[in-house]
């Protein structure tokens, strides 16, 4: 975004960036909820899902949002009012901070700085704070349990996620997300550049670990112990109603979209097509139309990855709490450490 509008005034830039950020958050979130949560889940259960609101129920989401906006804003009597109100906003702000580093095209980005991967992994853990204080401020033992479970889970799965990304960083030789996209699309597989070199091929172990960790970070089933509706009646979200619940809801699916964006940048080549197709040599020689096509490519890849996330979510039952922790600490983390070692050895060898 900045690359496109570098010569307009600061406040126009800021306004455009805020608008772009809202679009980049709400559009994927709404699409994910309709296509996957409403429709795909229904199809997987051999039913049609919402069909009345709009053609094939496509306006159902607006009906749901309208319903939530009408609801009373309830507080538990003993809730810690101020941070009770803050919690959903913290969770959502983590999503907005996360989308800021995602590149959508050669010039279509919000910010483009060197430690993009580091930043993304750092701000993604801000949502843990929101969830933990939501659980604590609700003055409800189920919410507190849910918040604690969420904290334990998110911290446990942050680690394999970071370690899985390290493999990509080693291979690309940069932490800048834009550079990682370029590195993948200018790369070659044994001298053949027809596909570029998307890191899903060389970093397939890292990709699987990353997607599992994303599933857990998003608290989607089978990692949904923090919001387990049959045990904890939605955990940290129990006491929230109306608009605040809506913010949690948007946050959940927007974060799914943003993590899918980041996964497609890290492993699937991001917004780019292999540069050899059009004879581009570097990021500066890319034609301008990529700024329009790039976001569409990103959106397609995002939908593909979210399809996988949701597919897994709708297929598997929930882990037990101890199985969850054991899986992270005894399987994923050692595996990702081995992956890092293998990647660095191969990087030096080739």
């Amino acid at each position: 975004m900045l690359g496109l509008i570098a010569d307009v005034s600061y406040w126009t830039q800021s306004l455009l960036r805020v608008f772009g950020g809202i679009v980049a958050i709400l559009l994927p979130a709404g699409t994910i909820v309709y296509v996957f949560l409403f429709k795909m889940m229904s199809f997987m259960q051999s039913r049609l899902g919402p069909m009345e609101a709009g053609p094939f129920g496509s306006l159902q989401l607006f009906a749901e949002v309208g319903k939530w906006l009408q609801k009373e804003d309830l507080y538990p009597e003993r809730a810690d009012r101020f941070i009770f109100k803050m919690a959903p906003l913290i969770v959502l702000s983590s999503t907005f901070l996360l989308v800021a580093v995602v590149p959508f095209g050669p010039d279509a980005w919000f910010t483009n700085f060197e430690a993009g991967v580091f930043y993304a992994l750092a701000v993604s853990s801000v949502s843990v704070l929101g969830i933990l204080i939501a659980g604590w401020a609700s003055a409800n033992k189920y919410s507190l349990l849910g918040g604690l479970r969420a904290a334990g889970q998110l911290i446990a799965y942050e680690l394999p996620m970071v370690l899985a990304v390290v493999g990509v960083v080693i291979q690309a030789g940069t932490m800048n997300l834009q550079q990682i996209v370029v590195a993948q699309n200018t790369g070659s597989i044994f001298g053949w550049a027809g596909l570029g070199n998307p890191y899903i091929l060389t970093q397939c172990v890292g990709f699987v670990i990353f997607m599992i960790a994303v599933q857990a970070e998003l608290t989607q089933a089978p990692f949904d112990m923090p919001i387990a509706e049959s045990e904890l009646v939605s955990g940290y979200m129990t006491e929230y109603s109306g608009f605040r619940f809506l913010i949690f809801f948007i946050g959940e699916f927007a974060t799914a979209g943003v993590f899918a964006f980041i996964a497609s940048v890290l492993f699937l080549g991001g917004w780019g097509v292999p540069f050899s197709w059009f004879g581009w040599t570097s990021i500066d020689s890319i034609d301008n139309w990529m700024n329009v096509v790039g976001p569409l490519i990103m959106f397609t890849k995002m939908m593909l990855l979210v399809f996988v996330i949701m597919w897994v979510r709708f297929s598997y039952p929930r882990f037990r709490e101890d199985q969850l922790q054991r899986f992270a600490w005894k399987s994923l983390i050692p595996l990702s450490l081995v992956n890092i070692m293998a990647t660095s050895v191969l990087k030096v060898a080739f």
Partner: protein, 163 residues
């Protein structure tokens, strides 16, 4: 790692169901637009055949919810044969079933010795006001039209009289 084939199979099941739903249609029906015919002997609503009722009160007394209200009085009817005594008959004044209370156990239908109560498969009689769920004698009589013919009995079974 030993669980991986099972996990993949699970993913296959959900994907297969999704494809099947998209290509062949869902197992569910879109209710107000299309309706399924209820299975035989469905317990939708209880119909009253007033002519058979002798206001013996057995149904009202056997109802676990006490949702049947019966009032009646005795009347003298002309004798069957010339020169006989006038007969005493029970005249039904009120026969109400409160479907807000009814739990569709069907004991009243079973217990009626004169076949005055029947199950009808009609189920669309919800009301905005709960008091309107009290169906009176006339309304219960109207349901009689919806009572299906009893299904074929098994061979050798004793045939009961119909409505």
């Amino acid at each position: 790692m030993a669980k991986v084939p099972g996990l993949l199979k699970g993913l296959g099941v959900t994907l297969g169901t999704m494809v099947e739903t998209i290509t062949k249609g869902a197992n569910t029906v879109q209710y107000p637009h299309e309706k399924e015919t209820p299975p035989i002997r469905s317990r939708g609503v209880i119909a009253l055949h007033e002519g058979n009722c002798t206001s013996c009160m057995l149904c009202a007394r056997s109802c676990p919810d006490w949702c049947i209200y019966i009032e009646g009085h005795k009347e003298l009817a002309p004798p069957r044969r010339a020169g006989g005594k006038p007969r005493q008959v029970n005249k039904l004044d009120r026969f109400d079933i409160d479907y807000a209370l009814c739990m569709y156990c069907g004991i009243c239908v079973e217990v009626c010795p004169f076949d005055a109560l029947f199950w009808s498969p009609e189920y669309e009689y919800s009301e905005p006001r709960i008091a309107d769920l009290l169906h009176d004698k006339a309304k219960l009589g109207e349901w009689m039209e919806t009572v299906p013919e009893a299904p074929e009995l098994e061979a050798g079974a004793e045939k009961k009289s119909k409505k």
